[in-house]
């Protein structure tokens, strides 16, 4: 490949990447812009990126009208719990499935794949009745259980891949050096698996943080409702929306996920590099 062709390819790649980033960022930037616009600017035929008269009224109104902080607290509790519990359950299962391949492991993998095919609406009534019998309707504990069960198959699938990526030879080497099974797992496997565990926890967190339908159906009282459910309260009949406060509330709802990604992304990358060096 000539140098000129190489540069052209590189330029094309950067162009594509820039286009992709703009595509991804557009909705979020527009959301921010809308959140700070007064009502009259929202009705403008020629909307601007930068609000001409930026205001915090939408945020004030959103907080006045709906219990956003309480809902955010509920969402956070549900999402963090789902993430932690999901990882605690999935990690040992994934290790077994990855290291001890057999019919049972294959069947488990098959179940994981099939379980992703069930739509929410198919599950919601039986799930509702089961949780009702367990007195877990209108309870964040019930919702967390649902989120864990819902995220578990995919989390398991993700973690199996991460475990398989850790060379079994490393564990054998540790064993030769005299480390016991547990010591090997804790000192050798776990650090290499850490990025995968974090990514899986993050996946379960985001799934629970964004989830709407189960929360809508299972939580009845306003004190228990999560953010996605409360956000719908800004939407009226026939799709009419209180756009400013809705954008303000939606912007606040995206912040935790963004911050978490920004914080953890570096660690995932760092962990991956560490694993690469060790192997």
């Amino acid at each position: 490949m000539s140098m000129r062709t190489g540069r052209a390819t590189r330029a094309g790649q950067y162009l594509a990447l820039t286009g992709y980033l703009v595509f991804l960022a557009f909705p979020f930037l527009w959301l921010i812009s809308t959140a700070f616009k007064p009502a009259r600017e929202l009705g403008s035929l020629h909307p601007t990126w930068i609000p001409q008269h930026p205001t915090l009224d939408n945020f004030r109104q959103a907080f006045d009208e709906q219990p956003l902080l309480q809902a955010a607290g509920n969402s956070l509790l549900a999402a963090v719990s789902a993430g932690v519990i999901c990882v605690l359950i999935a990690t040992p299962m994934a290790y077994v499935m990855a290291r001890h391949r057999g019919k049972l492991s294959a069947a488990a993998t098959g179940w994981v794949v099939v379980s992703q095919a069930f739509p929410f609406v198919l599950l919601i009534i039986p799930l509702f009745l089961i949780l009702k019998n367990l007195h877990l309707i209108n309870s964040l504990a019930g919702l967390i259980m649902v989120y864990v069960v819902w995220s578990l198959p995919f989390a398991l699938w993700m973690l199996v891949g991460y475990v398989r990526a850790v060379p079994a030879e490393l564990e054998e080497a540790a064993s030769v050096d005299g480390a016991g099974r547990l010591r090997t797992l804790v000192s050798v496997t776990a650090p290499l698996l850490a990025p995968g565990i974090v990514a899986t926890a993050l996946f379960a967190f985001i799934t629970a943080w964004n989830e709407f339908f189960f929360a809508l159906v299972l939580l009845k009282t306003p004190e228990k409702q999560t953010l996605p459910v409360v956000l719908t309260h800004f939407i009226g009949a026939e799709g009419a929306a209180d756009l400013g406060p809705l954008a303000a509330a939606a912007f606040l709802a995206t912040l935790p996920s963004l911050l978490l990604f920004a914080f953890i992304q570096r660690r995932i990358t760092g962990g991956m590099l560490a694993g690469a060096v060790k192997s």
Partner: protein, 432 residues
């Protein structure tokens, strides 16, 4: 090893405590002794409306220590699914706010209480028969209709006055033919006479079609419904179709829009008029630029005058509620005429109650209230709301057929064929 075991045990304990701590139990909020607790799920969403509802609940609770009502916020966006699962799980709120066109399945399913023997005479007599019929299914009354909104034309006053066209009033509305002529006159460079937001074309077409005698759904003596597309049924669709595809006086791009989407174009002078629900005035007030002059005009009239179909907002009581009597007493309080006026103003809609409708506050020219109240007498039940199978017909048959017709992809004969032939096949499955 011991440390790890201890850590695992601690984690398990912490999780158990966490789950126990955030469990709300399955209490339905009703005490065996002491005050009765009722849950009122409201769909109010605009600030003034939420405030009005919460204030009324607080006033009730202060005056009725033995019957305490809890305000629960619901959402129009998801109310059907949410109620359905609540009913199935015996967790429905005692008092349910919804729209009459959403009640049929719940009423036939036995989830809602028949209110006939529970309603006080005052309330029964205050609300006109036409409104009651929107919540009456198989002879039972399953909701109290309390707010309704006609479709009106929101017009750019300056453009209208400058054009010299006759300004319609509730007494002398435009005919559909005159409306078509007016929109042609209002159309100019970079401007359409009207923008029809027809993202959901079916209810608009059917409800406005009543003005021209269109009914489409005909119930026979055996109670079965069949579809017929008579001359009256074609007036409204043909007018819209011709405005879009023949006269080019209606914006084609608006056909895929919701009501709110048309407002920026309306404020920007791109559309001279927009047919919208009466409650959209609130958004116009909030979003219109300084100095923007707008007015509310009645929708065009046909052979049946300004008749329109509506699906009023309703208050129902869950069949499983152990406190139906108290729930109806609360509804009666909420719909006491002065309170009904507060709710109507909060939602920018019209009350169904005769006494509330007579309130002078709803007859001012300001923000078009008087035009709306003048139309109230002619509001009728939406033609199809009690027809079983209507939702499927609407989604699978009527919506795509009307969208294609309005965009000019098919003609009136094809529209008629699809609405009637395909539609009757759908209805037949529900009426075996």
């Amino acid at each position: 090893m011991r440390a790890l075991t201890r850590a695992a045990a601690s984690a398990a304990t912490a999780l158990t405590l966490l789950l126990a701590g955030c469990s709300g139990g399955g209490s339905d909020g009703r005490d065996a002794d002491g005050p009765v607790h009722l849950r009122f799920q409201s769909l109010a969403w605009q600030t003034e409306s939420v405030d009005a509802n919460k204030e009324l609940v607080a006033e009730w609770n202060a005056a009725h220590p033995d019957v305490q009502v809890e305000y629960v916020q619901g959402s129009w966006d998801s109310v059907h699914d949410q109620l359905l699962t609540s009913f199935e799980g015996d967790e429905a709120p005692d008092i349910i706010h919804d729209a009459s066109d959403d009640l049929a399945d719940f009423a036939y399913g036995g989830y809602l209480a028949d209110l006939r023997t529970l309603l006080p005479e005052r309330l029964t007599e205050d609300i006109p028969e036409a409104s009651w019929s929107t919540a009456t299914f198989d002879g039972g009354v399953y909701g109290v209709p309390f707010l309704q909104e006609p479709k009106v034309l929101i017009a750019n006053t300056k453009i209208l006055k400058a054009s010299g066209v006759r300004i319609p009033t509730a007494d002398r509305p435009w005919s559909w033919e005159e409306f078509r002529q007016v929109t042609k006159e209002l159309t100019g460079k970079g401007r359409y006479g009207v923008a029809w937001p027809l993202k959901e074309p079916v209810s608009v077409t059917l409800n406005l079609g009543l003005s021209a005698g269109g009914q489409l759904f005909h119930r026979g003596e055996d109670g079965k419904v069949d579809l017929r597309f008579d001359d009256g049924d074609s007036v409204v669709p043909r007018t819209i179709h011709d405005q879009v595809t023949v006269d080019h006086s209606a914006a084609r791009t608006a056909l895929g829009m919701g009501g709110s989407d048309t407002l920026p174009g309306f404020f920007g002078g791109k559309y001279a008029m927009v047919p919208l629900g009466f409650a959209y005035r609130q958004q116009v007030v909030e979003q219109a630029p300084e100095g923007f002059e707008w007015s509310v005009l009645p929708a065009p009239a046909g052979s049946d005058g300004t008749a329109q179909g509506v699906s009023p907002q309703t208050l129902s009581v869950a069949e499983d509620s152990p406190h139906k009597k108290e729930a109806v007493e609360f509804i009666d309080f909420l719909l006491d005429p002065p309170n009904m006026v507060r709710l109507a103003k909060g939602d920018w809609m019209l009350p169904t109650g005769t006494e509330a409708l007579a309130d002078p506050a709803l007859h001012t020219e300001d923000k078009g209230w008087a035009t709306g109240t003048a139309l109230a007498q002619r509001l009728r039940p939406a033609p199809a709301q009690s027809v079983r199978g209507y939702p499927e017909w609407k989604d699978k048959v009527a919506t795509p057929a009307l969208q294609e017709y309005y965009s000019g992809a098919i003609g009136l004969d094809e529209l008629r064929k699809r609405l009637v032939d395909d539609g009757n096949r759908v209805l037949a499955r529900y009426q075996r």
